[in-house]
Symmetry: C2
Subunit: 232 residues, 2 copies
DNA sequence: CTGCTTACTTGATATTTATCAAGCGGGCAT
DNA sequence: ATGCCCGCTTGATAAATATCAAGTAAGCAG
């Protein structure tokens, strides 16, 4: 296991529990590719021929309808994307494009399905991963249906703040227009929302965020682990 | 297999591929319970001790936050709910209540996880089911972020119309207030939305819906399999 | 049958969010 | 360094959606 191909991939929860032999089999048809920024990787509706593992960079999973577009989620390394389509041998529901220069390992879907049947450890890891993905999207749905855009932003900021260990200030890890799309609002509205949060102790300077009064912001945002926690 | 306990459960995709022996093991700790209408089954945040299988009736999976409430999905028989929480041994993300008198088989979560490791057919079925659930929620998210409430209603009607085989008229299978909540709007707005769709060939009379001009409605709704199809 | 409850509808209004149109300002290529 | 592109901001306005307040009608219990 120490000298496996793509060690970053091997150490992911999804691939950590399988036998060396099966991991090697899975990687036999896999290849690493490096993409420049802002390159289309996948178009929604295409067949899911590969499971993708983002090793470095960042990928935007988005969707279009009727001339509108929205970011459904942002993938940060190291993690997989479009596992569900791979498993079901179905079409991609989202398009994908790189946001920065990205290195991606592509594993043929048929191999993923074959190894799933051979390796119980992998099977268990797949199901645990998929369940986590499912729960994450349910949280997104609750966030969208139960909260206003301002409340979503407030909770996003608190969530990042907490993830970074509650520092005095931190930088947004997304461009504001990207963030707006993820949160389900327009860039103009995000701008105004940031301003509105000044009243709750949020200071914004470019991409630097300062939460000067966490208690006040929390009182407004009312975060809950059943929506805002990445883990549970 | 012909005389298994809970034959309706056994014939679900999720349980159809496992051995008789393992199915029997899984059902050893399971029990069928009948609930009256409008009874709370589960509160969000509670531990997921049971996988639930709805055998008859209907169940509303909903969530509350800050004094607001929304239906995330409606479960119709025969199908399971909260598989993901069961798999991850996590807390429920949604509350559940019966809408009508309902019969529900409850299977201890620990048994589900144990049999998953024993039975490859069951493991495969679980992962396929979870992947389908995931994709379904992704579609919901796209529906919410890319469409207005009026567009969501139009597509919902077309989708039901198609599912029933494009009849001259059909009845809504949800109360309007329920439907409003599922579609992410208020009952008042749903009422007005129905009126607005008259212009596109939709006639509403109580719970009876007539789509007098499907082509016109489709031109407005622009349905796509990547959002509106239950299967793919 | 009568009266009650409850869902639904309708109208008026407020809030939230999007759109359109400038303007500002930082980063990057020439 | 200069100028240009692009993302961000701001203001004005429009559209979408929610809220509040009655009113209507259908179903059900007495």
């Amino acid at each position: 296991m120490s000298d496996s191909t793509f060690p970053e991939v091997r150490s992911l929860d999804l691939f950590a529990d399988m036998s060396d032999e099966n991991y090697a089999k899975l990687m036999r048809g896999a290849y690493l590719q490096t993409f420049p920024p802002h390159v289309d990787l996948i178009g929604e509706g295409e067949g899911a021929d590969f499971l993708h593992v983002l090793v470095s960079g960042a990928v935007d999973l988005f969707s279009r309808w009727n001339n509108r577009e929205t970011s459904v989620m942002i993938v940060k390394p190291v993690s997989t994307f479009i596992l569900a389509a791979t498993i079901r041998d179905a079409r991609y529901l989202m398009s994908a494009r790189t946001m920065e220069k990205s290195r991606i390992v592509m594993i043929p879907s048929q191999d993923v399905r074959a190894i799933f049947d051979l390796d119980a450890g992998f099977a268990r890891a797949v199901v645990v991963e998929l369940a986590a993905c499912y729960r994450s999207v349910i949280k997104t749905t609750k966030n969208l249906k139960l909260r206003t855009a301002l409340e979503r932003l407030a909770n996003y900021l608190l969530s990042r703040h907490r993830a970074y260990g509650a520092p005095a200030s931190f930088d947004l890890d997304l461009e504001k227009r990207q963030l707006a799309s993820v949160l389900g609002m327009t860039p103009e509205n995000l701008s105004r929302a940031f301003k509105a949060l000044q009243a709750y102790g949020v200071a914004v300077n470019g991409e630097k965020i300062e939460i000067t009064n966490p208690a006040l912001l929390q009182k407004f945002a009312k975060p809950t682990s059943l929506i805002d926690d990445d883990q549970t």
